[in-house]
C-alpha cells in the first residue's frame, strides 16, 4: 500500500529551508486569513443548509431567539453540534496528515498508517462482542483506547527492531500491525452479527446522528494533538532534510519523532472516535496546503487545519443536499468527489514536493 521516499534530501527540502529564511511572508499570512474566511463560510453553510429545508430567516431566528419550534430543534440540536464535530474532524485529519507526511517524508502517507484506524475499529468491535451492546458513549473511549494501543504497539515494534523510530520501519510496522488488527476485526464480525452491525455503521465515516457527548469526549485529545503538532513544526522542517542532517542541526531526533507520533495518534484517534474512519482528508489536504503556502510547517500545519475543516464541512453540506430527504455520508462524498479532484490537482502540480 505504502511507498516510502528514499531518505535523501531533494531540492524541495532546500525550498522549505529557503521559505523559512525569507521570514514570515505577508503573502502566506494573507492566505491563512483567506482560509479562515473559507472556514467561516463553510461553517455558516453547514448551519444554514440541510436535508430539512428550513428557511434562512427561521435559521437566524433559531440562532438568535431559540424557541421551542422545529427550526430551533434542527439548528441548535442537529446542525450546530454536527458543524462542531465537522470542525474537530477536519482540523484533526488535516493536521495529522501534514505531520504524518512530514514525519515519514512520504507523499502517500495517510494518518491511518500507524494502525490507528485499524486499532480503533477493532476496539469498537471487541466492545460490542464482549459487552454485548453498542453504546455510542462507550464507542468513543474504546476507539481512543484502540487507536492509542495500536500506535504504541507500532512504535514499540519499530524501536525494538531498529533502535530508532525512522520512517521506513515505522511505515512497515504500521502496515503489518494494521493488517493483523483488520484480520482480527474480520474474524469477529464474521462470527458475530451484532458486532458486524456496529462495525458496518462505524466504518463509513459520517457526522450524522452522532451523540453530542462525543464532542466533549474527543476535544481534549484533539487539542492536545494540535498543540503537539504546532510544537513539532520546526522539527518537521529539520527532519525534512533527513535524520542525519537534522541531528547535525542540533535536533533531538527521538524527541521530534515521539512528539510527532503522539500528535498523529491523538489527532487521528480523536477524529476516528468522533466520526469513524474518514479517508482522503489526511492524504490530500497537506498537498493542497503545500501548493498554496509552501513546505514550511509553520504555515503548512495551520493551513492544513483550515483546509481540512473547510473540506469536511463542505463535503458534509453536499452530502446533506444530494440525498433527497435522506443524506449521503461525508466519507462517501469525500471519496466520490475528492478522488477525481485529487487526480486533477495531481496532474497540474508536482505533488512530491516534500
Amino acid at each position: 500500500m505504502t511507498q516510502t521516499a528514499a531518505p535523501a534530501p531533494t531540492p524541495a527540502h532546500g525550498a522549505a529551508v529557503a521559505d523559512r529564511r525569507r521570514g514570515p511572508g505577508r503573502r502566506r499570512v494573507g492566505i491563512l486569513l483567506g482560509l479562515v474566511v473559507a472556514v467561516a463560510v463553510t461553517a455558516a453553510a453547514s448551519v444554514a443548509f440541510g436535508s430539512n429545508h428550513v428557511q434562512f430567516l427561521r435559521v437566524f431566528e433559531a440562532l438568535l431567539h431559540p424557541g421551542d419550534d422545529e427550526a430551533t430543534t434542527i439548528v441548535q440540536g442537529v446542525r450546530i453540534p454536527r458543524t462542531i464535530l465537522g470542525i474537530v474532524v477536519g482540523a484533526c485529519l488535516g493536521v495529522a496528515g501534514a505531520v504524518m507526511q512530514g514525519q515519514t517524508r512520504n507523499p502517500l502517507a495517510d494518518p491511518g498508517l500507524f494502525g490507528v484506524s485499524a486499532g480503533a475499529g477493532l476496539a469498537v468491535v471487541i466492545g460490542v462482542f464482549v459487552f454485548g451492546v453498542a453504546d455510542t458513549g462507550l464507542d468513543v473511549w474504546l476507539a481512543l483506547a484502540g487507536a492509542l494501543v495500536a500506535s504504541v504497539a507500532v512504535f514499540s515494534i519499530t524501536a525494538a527492531g531498529s533502535g530508532t523510530a525512522s520512517p521506513v520501519p515505522l511505515a512497515l510496522a504500521g502496515a503489518a500491525v494494521s493488517a493483523l488488527l483488520d484480520a482480527f476485526t474480520s474474524f469477529i464480525v464474521l462470527a458475530d452479527k451484532d458486532a458486524l452491525n456496529a462495525y458496518r455503521l462505524w466504518v463509513v465515516g459520517s457526522l450524522s446522528g452522532r451523540d453530542a457527548g462525543v464532542i466533549s469526549s474527543v476535544v481534549p485529545f484533539a487539542l492536545a494533538g494540535l498543540v503537539l503538532a504546532f510544537l513539532n513544526s520546526r522539527a518537521l522542517d529539520n527532519l525534512g532534510l533527513g535524520s542525519d542532517m537534522a541531528r547535525s542541526l542540533g535536533q533531538n531526533v527521538l524527541v521530534a519523532r515521539i512528539t510527532g507520533l503522539a500528535s498523529i495518534t491523538l489527532l487521528t484517534a480523536a477524529a476516528t472516535a468522533a466520526a469513524g474512519p474518514v479517508g482522503f482528508v489526511g492524504l490530500v489536504v497537506p498537498h493542497l496546503a503545500r501548493a498554496i503556502v509552501g513546505g514550511s510547517h509553520r504555515y503548512l500545519i495551520p493551513a492544513s487545519m483550515l483546509i481540512g475543516i473547510a473540506l469536511v464541512l463542505g463535503a458534509d453540506v453536499v452530502g446533506r443536499l444530494i440525498g433527497g430527504s435522506g443524506e449521503v455520508q461525508v466519507g462517501i462524498v469525500l471519496a466520490v468527489l475528492g478522488g477525481p479532484f485529487f487526480v486533477a490537482v495531481a496532474r497540474r502540480r508536482s505533488l512530491v514536493a516534500l
Binding site: G50, S51, N52, E70, T73, I74, Q76, G77, V78, R79, T136, V189, L190, A191, D192, K193, D194, L196, N197, L201, V204, S206, S208, G209, R210, D211, R320, G323, G324, S325, G326, E327, Q329
Partner: protein, 329 residues
Amino acid sequence: MKRIATALAVVAAAALALSGCSATSGDSTGTATTATWSFTDDLGKTVTLDHRPTKIVGQGETVVSLMNYGITPVGTFGSFDITKDARFEKLDTKGITQVGTEYGSFDLEKLAALQPDLIVADVYPVDAKGTIDKAQPDFGFSDLAQMKQVEAIAPIVTIVMGGDGADVISSIVKLSSALGAEAGTIATAKKAFDTASAKLQSAAEESKVKVATVYADADGYYVVKAAEDPALDLYADLGVDFVKPTPKGYYWGIYSWENAGKAGGDVILLNQSGYQKKELAAQPTLAKTAAITSDQVYRWLSAGLDYVGQAGYMTELAGYLAESKVVTS
C-alpha cells in the same frame, strides 16, 4: 392485474405439483425407493427428486416457518445466528448446523457434509411491482456464482417474499405440506392465526393509532412502506393504520435525522437491530415527537410468514395497540 395473474399461476403450479405428488407418493409410504417427489416453486422452477427430501437446509427466516409447522432442517444459512434470534426462542435449534450466519457467508464443506436433499431459499422483489431480478441471486447469497456452487450440492426451491402477505403464507404452507407437514398441525395453527387476526382487527379498530415501522441508525430514520412488506400488508388489511412515508424509494422511506421528526406515528414498531429506544430518544428531532415522549415504542419482530409466527406477533401487536393512545394530531 399482474399480481392476480401471478397468484393464478402459483395456484395452477401448486395444483400441478400436488397432483404430481399424490399420483406417485400418495400410497407408497412403504416403498419410498420407487416414489418421486416434485415441487414447483414461486419462481416456476420445478425440482424433482427420487424421494421426499428429509435433509433440508434453509435460509433462517424461512426455516423458522418450516419449523413452526414441525419440519426440522439439518442446517441453516442467512444473515443471522438462529440461536440468538427472538423468532427461534420457542423452537429447539439443537442439532441444527449453521453453515452461515452472515449475509453471503457459506461454509460449503460443512454444507456438503450435511448431504442435504434440498435447499430452501427466499428472494425479495426489487420494486413495488414485485419484479424479481433474475440477474441477482436469492437472499443470503453473495452472488450467482455462489448460488451455483450451493445448487451443485442440492437443488434450491425459492419462496418469493413479496406482494400480499396471504400469498406468502400460502406458498410456505404449500412447501411445508410437500415436505411432510401434517395437515392437522397446519389447521390448528390456522385456527390460532384466525383468532389472533380477529384480536388485532378489533384492537386496531378501537385504538385508531397511527403506526410507524422503523429501523434507525446513525445514517437516519428508515420507515417501512407497509404495502411493500408482506406481513405489514397483512396487518394493514386487518385495519392497522400505518403511516405512509413520503420519501421516494422501494420498501423504505428514508429520513435524515434532520427530517426524522416529520415521519409521524403515535406508535413506533422498532427493528431489533440498529438504534434502540434510548438512542432514538437521544436524537433531538425525534426526542420531542409524541411517540417518544409518550413512550409508545415497541418491538418489530418480522415474524415468519406462517400461521404460528404471525399469530404470535399479531397477538403481541394487538396488545401494543390496546395500551397505546392517539398522541399526534
